[in-house]
């Protein structure tokens, strides 16, 4: 039994396991007698739990190969120009692992993105402009899908596909050609049964680094965007972020197969 005076500092000591066990009963009584301190203690505990919950998932994530591969490499190699070495190691791993491994690596960011936000910004602008059209939402309709895809592939300069989003309820409306600085960009427009529209934007950007999926939010719409295989991609729309991310994942898989496979 202790008779010492408690203060706000003791809330932290108690919360962090730094308070001697024998002081705890007296501390609890002190809290009971001071509702403001009781509330404070409760709030700090809630915030801590929230912090832990938010961060807990990170422990479960697969460790990126550039990190998990490190200790397996001889020490001399580590002393070289490290970042470059690890990246080329990771690049080689793509060839070895292929499939899912390639998918994960392909989504990783090895450097500063050149113009990812730029791509996303243009995609959002184009989306906001054309998605609100009632009669002229697309240049070429989905009824001429083969022609549309062939034409846009030729103009943009890569082998494109119009990804199939029917699993998430979005059907192709059609597409159009857009200017992007001095290049050609493609926009595929999709619509769900309620008339909600999302669009996929693709532009060739040979100098670009690969990036992970990133989100850009602007007034009226948001876009998940990524750079990969010398192209910039963005899925834009005014739909919940998780829907948009699902669409971006679908687009990524289907376009990646088309670009690297050369056939669809």
């Amino acid at each position: 039994m202790t008779n010492r005076e408690f203060s706000e500092n003791d809330i932290h000591l108690a919360l962090d396991g730094e308070m001697p066990v024998e002081e705890r009963p007296a501390f609890e009584r002190w809290l009971d007698a001071h509702p403001d301190m009781q509330a404070r203690s409760h709030r700090f505990a809630t915030d801590r739990d929230r912090l832990r919950e938010t961060l807990a998932g990170i422990l479960e994530e697969p460790v990126p190969p550039r990190l998990s591969g490190m200790p397996l490499i001889p020490e001399e190699a580590i002393k070289g120009p490290p970042r470059l070495f690890w990246r080329s190691f990771a690049a080689a791993a793509i060839l070895l692992v292929g499939g899912l491994g390639g998918f994960i690596l392909g989504r990783m960011n090895w450097g500063t993105p050149l113009s990812g936000e730029n791509v996303a910004d243009k995609a959002i602008a184009a989306h906001v402009l054309y998605a609100s059209e009632t009669r002229h939402v697309v240049e070429v309709g989905a009824d001429q899908k083969d022609h549309l895809v062939g034409w846009l592939s030729k103009r943009v300069g890569i082998h494109l596909v119009a990804p199939d989003f029917s699993g998430v309820g979005f059907k192709l409306v059609g597409g159009r050609l857009l200017p992007s600085a001095h290049k050609a960009a493609a926009q595929f427009m999709y619509q769900d049964h309620a008339g909600v529209r999302i669009s996929l934007y693709v532009v060739r950007d040979p100098g670009s680094h690969e990036t992970s999926f990133r989100l850009l939010k602007e007034d009226g719409a948001r876009a998940f965007y990524w750079l990969d295989n010398g192209c910039g991609y963005a899925v834009a729309g005014n739909v919940p972020e998780n829907t948009l991310l699902t669409l971006a994942n679908l687009a990524y898989t289907q376009l990646d197969a088309a670009v690297t496979g050369g056939s669809s």
């Binding site: 706000e8 500092n9 932290h12 000591l13 919360l15 962090d16 396991g17 730094e18 709030r43 700090f44 915030d47 801590r48 929230r50 912090l51 832990r52 938010t54 961060l55 990170i58 422990l59 479960e60 994530e61 460790v63 990126p64 550039r66 990190l67 998990s68 490190m70 200790p71 020490e75 580590i78 002393k79 490290p82 970042r83 690890w86 989504r107 990783m108 960011n109 936000e117 992970s212 999926f213 990133r214 989100l215 850009l216 939010k217 602007e218 007034d219 972020e241 998780n242 991310l245």
Partner: protein, 172 residues
């Protein structure tokens, strides 16, 4: 030597969690982990086998993190943004973040870096004040005062975020 490497490898998930909580951006956080691992592996001899690998690696990461913060400040890359502007240009890394977890990450970023470290090491990573003091190279009393201030800052930011969320809902 291989045992040491394995022990270090086993710490990667926790290093990633700590780095992500410090920096928020996934790629920047993994860069910090990678730099820390590189430094650790090149200085394996400095690690006394009695030491916990985790605390040793946290110490290395702390030094790199503080160096990085100083460099950024010197180059004046940190521009003060109003929260609304920051909200509009923010591009949360890779994974979809729920509104709630985004608020926590944003609130963490609003805490002064030195206080953020102290809070995370103790409240999330489970270090004692004495252990955190060794990692951060500061007296134990300072650990406690940093944590106390960090908690106040966290609370204020989370309250702010909740208020903004309410306002947005009302505006709709």
């Amino acid at each position: 030597m291989d045992d040491k490497r394995r022990a270090i490898l086993a710490e990667i998930p926790r290093l990633r969690r700590y780095a992500r909580a410090l920096l928020r951006d996934r790629e920047a956080a993994d860069d910090l982990v990678q730099d820390s691992l590189e430094r650790a592996l090149s200085r394996l001899d400095n690690w006394r086998s009695g030491d916990s690998p985790q605390r040793w690696l946290f110490t290395i990461m702390h030094n790199l993190f503080i160096d990085q913060k100083r460099r950024v400040v010197r180059r004046q890359e940190v521009l003060p943004l109003s929260q609304d502007v920051a909200d509009s240009i923010v591009s949360p890394p890779t994974q979809f973040e729920s509104v709630v977890s985004r608020e926590v990450f944003e609130a963490l970023q609003a805490i002064v870096p030195e206080r953020r470290e102290a809070l995370l090491l103790v409240a999330v990573e489970g270090l004692t004040y004495a252990e955190a003091a060794v990692v951060l190279g500061i007296p134990t009393g300072t650990v406690m005062s940093r944590i106390a201030r960090a908690r106040e800052e966290l609370r204020a930011s989370l309250d702010d975020a909740a208020r903004r969320r309410t306002i947005r809902v009302v505006e709709k």
